[in-house]
Protein backbone atom coordinates (compact mmCIF):
# COMPACT_ATOMS: atom_id res chain seq x y z
CA UNK A 1 0.00 0.00 0.00
CA UNK A 2 2.73 2.44 0.96
CA UNK A 3 4.62 1.77 -2.28
CA UNK A 4 1.52 2.20 -4.36
CA UNK A 5 0.84 5.57 -2.73
CA UNK A 6 4.38 6.73 -3.30
CA UNK A 7 4.10 5.88 -6.99
CA UNK A 8 0.91 7.88 -7.26
CA UNK A 9 2.43 10.90 -5.56
CA UNK A 10 4.01 12.55 -8.64
CA UNK A 11 0.74 12.27 -10.53
CA UNK A 12 -1.15 13.78 -7.63
CA UNK A 13 1.37 16.59 -7.44
CA UNK A 14 1.19 17.22 -11.17
CA UNK A 15 -2.58 17.29 -10.94
CA UNK A 16 -2.57 19.79 -8.11
CA UNK A 17 -0.16 22.08 -10.00
CA UNK A 18 -2.52 22.25 -12.96
CA UNK A 19 -5.49 22.63 -10.65
CA UNK A 20 -3.98 25.61 -8.86
CA UNK A 21 -3.26 27.29 -12.22
CA UNK A 22 0.52 27.33 -12.01
CA UNK A 23 1.95 27.49 -15.54
CA UNK A 24 3.79 24.52 -16.93
CA UNK A 25 7.30 25.19 -18.17
CA UNK A 26 8.09 26.36 -21.70
CA UNK A 27 9.89 23.09 -22.47
CA UNK A 28 6.80 21.04 -21.57
CA UNK A 29 4.89 22.66 -24.40
CA UNK A 30 7.58 22.24 -27.03
CA UNK A 31 7.54 19.36 -29.47
CA UNK A 32 10.81 18.85 -31.34
CA UNK A 33 10.99 17.08 -34.71
CA UNK A 34 13.25 16.82 -37.81
CA UNK A 35 16.33 17.03 -35.60
CA UNK A 36 19.56 16.41 -37.48
CA UNK A 37 23.21 17.36 -37.70
CA UNK A 38 25.21 17.84 -40.87
CA UNK A 39 28.47 15.96 -40.29
CA UNK A 40 31.54 17.59 -41.87
CA UNK A 41 35.01 16.02 -42.10
CA UNK A 42 37.63 16.36 -39.38
CA UNK A 43 36.85 18.76 -36.55
CA UNK A 44 35.07 21.34 -38.68
CA UNK A 45 32.07 22.99 -37.02
CA UNK A 46 28.73 21.36 -37.84
CA UNK A 47 25.23 22.77 -38.21
CA UNK A 48 22.31 21.31 -36.24
CA UNK A 49 18.68 21.73 -37.27
CA UNK A 50 15.31 21.09 -35.62
CA UNK A 51 11.67 22.10 -35.91
CA UNK A 52 10.15 23.34 -32.64
CA UNK A 53 6.37 23.42 -32.17
CA UNK A 54 4.81 25.27 -29.29
CA UNK A 55 1.44 23.96 -28.07
CA UNK A 56 1.08 26.65 -25.42
CA UNK A 57 -0.99 29.86 -25.37
CA UNK A 58 2.25 31.61 -24.46
CA UNK A 59 5.29 32.14 -26.68
CA UNK A 60 8.44 30.26 -25.73
CA UNK A 61 12.01 31.43 -26.11
CA UNK A 62 14.94 29.22 -27.01
CA UNK A 63 18.01 30.67 -25.35
CA UNK A 64 20.81 28.14 -25.81
CA UNK A 65 21.72 24.50 -26.25
CA UNK A 66 24.30 22.17 -24.78
CA UNK A 67 25.60 18.69 -25.45
CA UNK A 68 28.37 16.64 -23.89
CA UNK A 69 29.66 15.84 -27.40
CA UNK A 70 30.64 19.40 -28.34
CA UNK A 71 32.39 21.96 -26.13
CA UNK A 72 30.66 24.81 -27.92
CA UNK A 73 27.06 25.16 -29.15
CA UNK A 74 25.91 28.52 -30.45
CA UNK A 75 22.59 29.75 -31.79
CA UNK A 76 23.28 31.32 -35.18
CA UNK A 77 21.45 32.80 -38.11
CA UNK A 78 22.64 32.81 -41.71
CA UNK A 79 21.54 35.43 -44.18
CA UNK A 80 22.22 36.06 -47.86
CA UNK A 81 21.17 39.67 -48.28
CA UNK A 82 22.63 41.76 -51.08
CA UNK A 83 24.37 38.71 -52.52
CA UNK A 84 26.54 38.28 -49.42
CA UNK A 85 26.36 35.24 -47.13
CA UNK A 86 26.81 36.11 -43.48
CA UNK A 87 26.46 34.30 -40.20
CA UNK A 88 25.56 36.05 -36.95
CA UNK A 89 25.16 34.91 -33.38
CA UNK A 90 21.66 35.42 -31.98
CA UNK A 91 20.58 35.77 -28.34
CA UNK A 92 17.36 33.81 -28.61
CA UNK A 93 14.74 32.41 -30.93
CA UNK A 94 11.03 32.93 -30.24
CA UNK A 95 8.60 30.08 -30.82
CA UNK A 96 5.16 31.72 -31.15
CA UNK A 97 2.14 30.52 -29.18
CA UNK A 98 0.49 27.65 -31.10
CA UNK A 99 3.15 28.13 -33.73
CA UNK A 100 6.52 26.83 -34.72
CA UNK A 101 10.09 27.91 -35.31
CA UNK A 102 12.33 26.13 -37.75
CA UNK A 103 16.06 25.82 -37.45
CA UNK A 104 16.86 24.87 -41.03
CA UNK A 105 19.73 25.19 -43.53
CA UNK A 106 20.29 28.77 -44.67
CA UNK A 107 18.55 30.26 -41.64
CA UNK A 108 18.60 29.66 -37.89
CA UNK A 109 20.86 26.82 -36.78
CA UNK A 110 22.96 25.58 -33.91
CA UNK A 111 26.67 25.73 -34.63
CA UNK A 112 28.42 22.82 -32.93
CA UNK A 113 32.17 23.08 -32.57
CA UNK A 114 35.07 21.48 -30.70
CA UNK A 115 33.80 17.91 -30.82
CA UNK A 116 35.09 15.60 -28.11
CA UNK A 117 34.96 12.54 -30.35
CA UNK A 118 34.11 12.83 -34.03
CA UNK A 119 30.50 12.13 -34.92
CA UNK A 120 29.72 9.34 -37.37
CA UNK A 121 26.86 9.34 -39.85
CA UNK A 122 23.80 7.51 -38.50
CA UNK A 123 24.69 8.17 -34.87
CA UNK A 124 22.14 9.81 -32.55
CA UNK A 125 23.28 12.36 -30.01
CA UNK A 126 21.39 14.17 -27.30
CA UNK A 127 21.28 17.96 -27.35
CA UNK A 128 19.63 19.79 -24.46
CA UNK A 129 17.63 22.84 -25.48
CA UNK A 130 17.44 25.59 -22.85
CA UNK A 131 14.45 27.92 -22.67
CA UNK A 132 14.04 31.41 -21.17
CA UNK A 133 12.26 30.15 -18.02
CA UNK A 134 15.14 27.79 -17.27
CA UNK A 135 13.33 24.66 -18.44
CA UNK A 136 15.12 22.20 -20.70
CA UNK A 137 14.23 19.71 -23.39
CA UNK A 138 16.48 16.78 -24.32
CA UNK A 139 16.28 16.06 -28.04
CA UNK A 140 17.89 13.29 -30.10
CA UNK A 141 19.62 14.58 -33.23
CA UNK A 142 20.59 12.15 -35.99
CA UNK A 143 23.96 12.62 -37.70
CA UNK A 144 23.50 12.93 -41.47
CA UNK A 145 26.08 13.04 -44.29
CA UNK A 146 27.59 16.38 -45.39
CA UNK A 147 25.54 16.41 -48.60
CA UNK A 148 22.18 15.74 -46.94
CA UNK A 149 19.56 18.42 -47.39
CA UNK A 150 17.18 17.41 -44.58
CA UNK A 151 16.61 15.08 -41.64
CA UNK A 152 16.03 12.11 -43.97
CA UNK A 153 13.10 9.71 -44.22
CA UNK A 154 13.59 8.18 -40.79
CA UNK A 155 12.78 11.44 -39.04
CA UNK A 156 9.79 12.73 -40.95
Amino acid sequence: MMIRNARALPFLLAGSIFATGIHATEAEHIHASQAWIRVLPGDLPAGAYVTLENTSDQPAMLRSATTPRYASVMLHKSSSEGGVSRMAMVESLAIPAHGKAELSPGGYHLMLSKAGTPLSVGENIKITLHFADGSTLDTDFVARPANATDAGDAHH
Partner: protein, 205 residues
Protein backbone atom coordinates in the same frame (compact mmCIF):
# COMPACT_ATOMS: atom_id res chain seq x y z
CA UNK B 1 39.34 50.30 -110.28
CA UNK B 2 41.20 49.44 -107.09
CA UNK B 3 39.19 51.96 -105.09
CA UNK B 4 35.88 50.46 -106.15
CA UNK B 5 37.11 46.98 -105.41
CA UNK B 6 38.17 48.06 -101.91
CA UNK B 7 34.80 49.62 -101.17
CA UNK B 8 33.02 46.58 -102.58
CA UNK B 9 35.12 44.39 -100.31
CA UNK B 10 34.32 46.62 -97.38
CA UNK B 11 30.62 46.29 -98.14
CA UNK B 12 30.93 42.55 -98.37
CA UNK B 13 32.82 42.47 -95.09
CA UNK B 14 30.15 44.56 -93.39
CA UNK B 15 27.44 42.34 -94.82
CA UNK B 16 29.12 39.15 -93.61
CA UNK B 17 29.79 40.69 -90.20
CA UNK B 18 26.17 41.80 -89.96
CA UNK B 19 24.96 38.35 -90.88
CA UNK B 20 27.19 36.76 -88.23
CA UNK B 21 26.00 39.20 -85.58
CA UNK B 22 22.37 38.69 -86.56
CA UNK B 23 22.83 34.96 -86.52
CA UNK B 24 24.57 35.25 -83.17
CA UNK B 25 21.73 37.27 -81.73
CA UNK B 26 19.11 34.90 -83.01
CA UNK B 27 20.97 31.96 -81.62
CA UNK B 28 21.26 33.42 -78.12
CA UNK B 29 17.63 34.54 -78.28
CA UNK B 30 16.60 31.00 -79.07
CA UNK B 31 18.07 29.71 -75.81
CA UNK B 32 15.75 30.43 -72.95
CA UNK B 33 18.05 30.58 -69.93
CA UNK B 34 16.35 30.43 -66.55
CA UNK B 35 19.33 31.92 -64.70
CA UNK B 36 20.83 35.38 -65.26
CA UNK B 37 22.69 35.55 -68.58
CA UNK B 38 26.06 37.23 -67.97
CA UNK B 39 27.58 36.48 -71.41
CA UNK B 40 29.84 39.36 -72.37
CA UNK B 41 29.44 41.04 -68.97
CA UNK B 42 31.98 39.06 -66.97
CA UNK B 43 35.56 38.09 -67.91
CA UNK B 44 36.65 34.57 -68.89
CA UNK B 45 37.67 32.07 -66.23
CA UNK B 46 41.24 32.86 -65.22
CA UNK B 47 43.15 32.18 -61.99
CA UNK B 48 46.33 30.72 -60.56
CA UNK B 49 45.49 28.62 -57.51
CA UNK B 50 46.25 25.28 -55.82
CA UNK B 51 43.83 22.35 -56.12
CA UNK B 52 42.91 19.92 -53.33
CA UNK B 53 45.69 17.55 -54.40
CA UNK B 54 48.23 20.34 -53.78
CA UNK B 55 48.80 20.90 -57.50
CA UNK B 56 49.15 24.39 -59.04
CA UNK B 57 46.25 24.98 -61.44
CA UNK B 58 44.99 27.74 -63.72
CA UNK B 59 41.62 28.48 -65.29
CA UNK B 60 42.78 26.81 -68.50
CA UNK B 61 43.07 23.46 -66.72
CA UNK B 62 39.27 23.38 -66.59
CA UNK B 63 38.68 24.19 -70.26
CA UNK B 64 36.56 21.47 -71.80
CA UNK B 65 34.39 21.36 -68.66
CA UNK B 66 31.38 23.44 -67.73
CA UNK B 67 32.50 25.18 -64.52
CA UNK B 68 30.39 26.16 -61.50
CA UNK B 69 32.46 28.63 -59.48
CA UNK B 70 31.50 29.22 -55.84
CA UNK B 71 33.34 31.07 -53.05
CA UNK B 72 33.19 29.74 -49.48
CA UNK B 73 35.23 28.19 -46.67
CA UNK B 74 35.24 24.96 -44.72
CA UNK B 75 34.59 26.47 -41.27
CA UNK B 76 31.22 27.62 -42.63
CA UNK B 77 28.76 25.14 -41.08
CA UNK B 78 25.53 26.24 -42.73
CA UNK B 79 25.39 28.15 -46.03
CA UNK B 80 28.45 26.63 -47.77
CA UNK B 81 27.43 23.01 -47.06
CA UNK B 82 23.85 23.85 -48.05
CA UNK B 83 24.99 25.28 -51.40
CA UNK B 84 27.33 22.34 -52.08
CA UNK B 85 24.65 19.81 -51.04
CA UNK B 86 22.19 21.48 -53.42
CA UNK B 87 24.77 21.43 -56.22
CA UNK B 88 25.29 17.72 -55.52
CA UNK B 89 21.56 17.14 -56.01
CA UNK B 90 21.69 19.15 -59.24
CA UNK B 91 24.65 17.05 -60.47
CA UNK B 92 22.77 13.84 -59.63
CA UNK B 93 19.73 15.03 -61.54
CA UNK B 94 21.92 15.75 -64.58
CA UNK B 95 22.95 12.09 -64.69
CA UNK B 96 25.96 11.17 -66.88
CA UNK B 97 25.99 14.71 -68.34
CA UNK B 98 27.31 15.94 -64.98
CA UNK B 99 30.68 14.35 -65.73
CA UNK B 100 31.20 17.25 -68.14
CA UNK B 101 30.94 19.72 -65.26
CA UNK B 102 33.16 20.71 -62.33
CA UNK B 103 32.19 22.50 -59.14
CA UNK B 104 35.12 24.77 -58.22
CA UNK B 105 34.85 25.61 -54.53
CA UNK B 106 37.28 28.50 -53.94
CA UNK B 107 38.29 29.12 -50.33
CA UNK B 108 38.04 32.68 -49.03
CA UNK B 109 39.87 31.45 -45.91
CA UNK B 110 43.26 30.24 -47.20
CA UNK B 111 44.80 30.57 -43.73
CA UNK B 112 42.76 27.57 -42.47
CA UNK B 113 41.87 25.81 -45.72
CA UNK B 114 44.84 23.66 -46.66
CA UNK B 115 44.58 21.36 -49.71
CA UNK B 116 44.12 18.36 -47.32
CA UNK B 117 41.15 19.92 -45.54
CA UNK B 118 39.69 21.10 -48.84
CA UNK B 119 40.06 17.60 -50.31
CA UNK B 120 38.15 15.92 -47.48
CA UNK B 121 35.56 18.69 -47.51
CA UNK B 122 34.65 18.80 -51.22
CA UNK B 123 34.66 15.02 -51.55
CA UNK B 124 32.09 14.78 -48.77
CA UNK B 125 29.70 16.52 -51.20
CA UNK B 126 30.34 15.47 -54.76
CA UNK B 127 33.05 13.60 -56.70
CA UNK B 128 32.97 16.34 -59.35
CA UNK B 129 33.79 19.06 -56.84
CA UNK B 130 37.30 20.52 -56.66
CA UNK B 131 38.58 22.56 -53.72
CA UNK B 132 40.79 25.50 -54.67
CA UNK B 133 42.95 27.46 -52.28
CA UNK B 134 46.11 29.49 -52.73
CA UNK B 135 47.84 32.79 -52.08
CA UNK B 136 45.49 35.37 -50.52
CA UNK B 137 46.22 37.91 -53.28
CA UNK B 138 45.33 35.35 -55.98
CA UNK B 139 42.03 34.56 -54.28
CA UNK B 140 41.34 38.26 -53.89
CA UNK B 141 42.13 38.82 -57.58
CA UNK B 142 39.71 36.06 -58.61
CA UNK B 143 37.00 37.38 -56.31
CA UNK B 144 37.42 40.93 -57.63
CA UNK B 145 37.44 39.64 -61.22
CA UNK B 146 33.81 38.58 -60.72
CA UNK B 147 32.94 41.72 -58.74
CA UNK B 148 32.45 39.79 -55.55
CA UNK B 149 34.06 40.38 -52.18
CA UNK B 150 34.76 38.62 -48.92
CA UNK B 151 35.43 39.95 -45.42
CA UNK B 152 37.01 38.21 -42.47
CA UNK B 153 34.81 39.00 -39.46
CA UNK B 154 36.36 39.83 -36.05
CA UNK B 155 37.75 36.96 -34.00
CA UNK B 156 35.27 35.65 -31.43
CA UNK B 157 38.03 35.51 -28.83
CA UNK B 158 38.82 31.80 -29.16
CA UNK B 159 40.70 32.05 -32.47
CA UNK B 160 37.50 31.20 -34.36
CA UNK B 161 36.17 33.61 -36.95
CA UNK B 162 33.62 33.74 -39.76
CA UNK B 163 34.12 35.02 -43.30
CA UNK B 164 31.32 36.85 -45.12
CA UNK B 165 31.39 35.98 -48.78
CA UNK B 166 29.50 36.15 -52.07
CA UNK B 167 26.54 33.77 -52.26
CA UNK B 168 26.54 33.63 -56.09
CA UNK B 169 27.44 30.69 -58.34
CA UNK B 170 29.19 31.73 -61.56
CA UNK B 171 28.75 29.34 -64.48
CA UNK B 172 31.23 29.11 -67.37
CA UNK B 173 30.96 27.21 -70.64
CA UNK B 174 33.50 24.66 -71.87
CA UNK B 175 35.64 27.47 -73.34
CA UNK B 176 35.87 29.26 -70.00
CA UNK B 177 33.45 32.00 -71.08
CA UNK B 178 31.25 33.44 -68.33
CA UNK B 179 27.67 32.43 -69.16
CA UNK B 180 25.29 32.44 -66.22
CA UNK B 181 24.86 33.63 -62.66
CA UNK B 182 22.85 31.76 -60.05
CA UNK B 183 21.80 33.22 -56.70
CA UNK B 184 20.36 31.46 -53.59
CA UNK B 185 16.79 32.39 -54.55
CA UNK B 186 17.06 30.34 -57.76
CA UNK B 187 15.51 26.88 -57.78
CA UNK B 188 17.29 23.61 -58.43
CA UNK B 189 15.05 23.24 -61.48
CA UNK B 190 16.52 26.43 -62.97
CA UNK B 191 20.05 25.15 -62.45
CA UNK B 192 19.26 21.72 -63.88
CA UNK B 193 17.50 23.27 -66.87
CA UNK B 194 20.36 25.62 -67.79
CA UNK B 195 23.18 23.20 -67.04
CA UNK B 196 21.45 20.58 -69.15
CA UNK B 197 21.43 23.02 -72.08
CA UNK B 198 25.00 24.13 -71.50
CA UNK B 199 26.30 20.57 -71.14
CA UNK B 200 24.42 19.40 -74.22
CA UNK B 201 25.93 22.26 -76.30
CA UNK B 202 29.12 21.19 -78.02
CA UNK B 203 29.11 17.95 -76.12
CA UNK B 204 32.26 16.20 -77.34
CA UNK B 205 30.55 12.82 -76.91
Amino acid sequence: MPLRRTSRLAWLFALVLGAIMLGGCQRSDAIQWQLTDISGHMPDLDFTLVDDQGKAVTGKDYHGKVVLLYFGYTHCPDVCPLTLAQLHVVMQRLGPLADGARILFVSVDPARDTPEIMHAYVNAFDPRAVGLSGAPREIEALSKRYRSAFTREPDKGDGQYEVSHSSAIYIFDRDGKAKLLSTPDRSQDDLVHDLHLLLSQGNPA
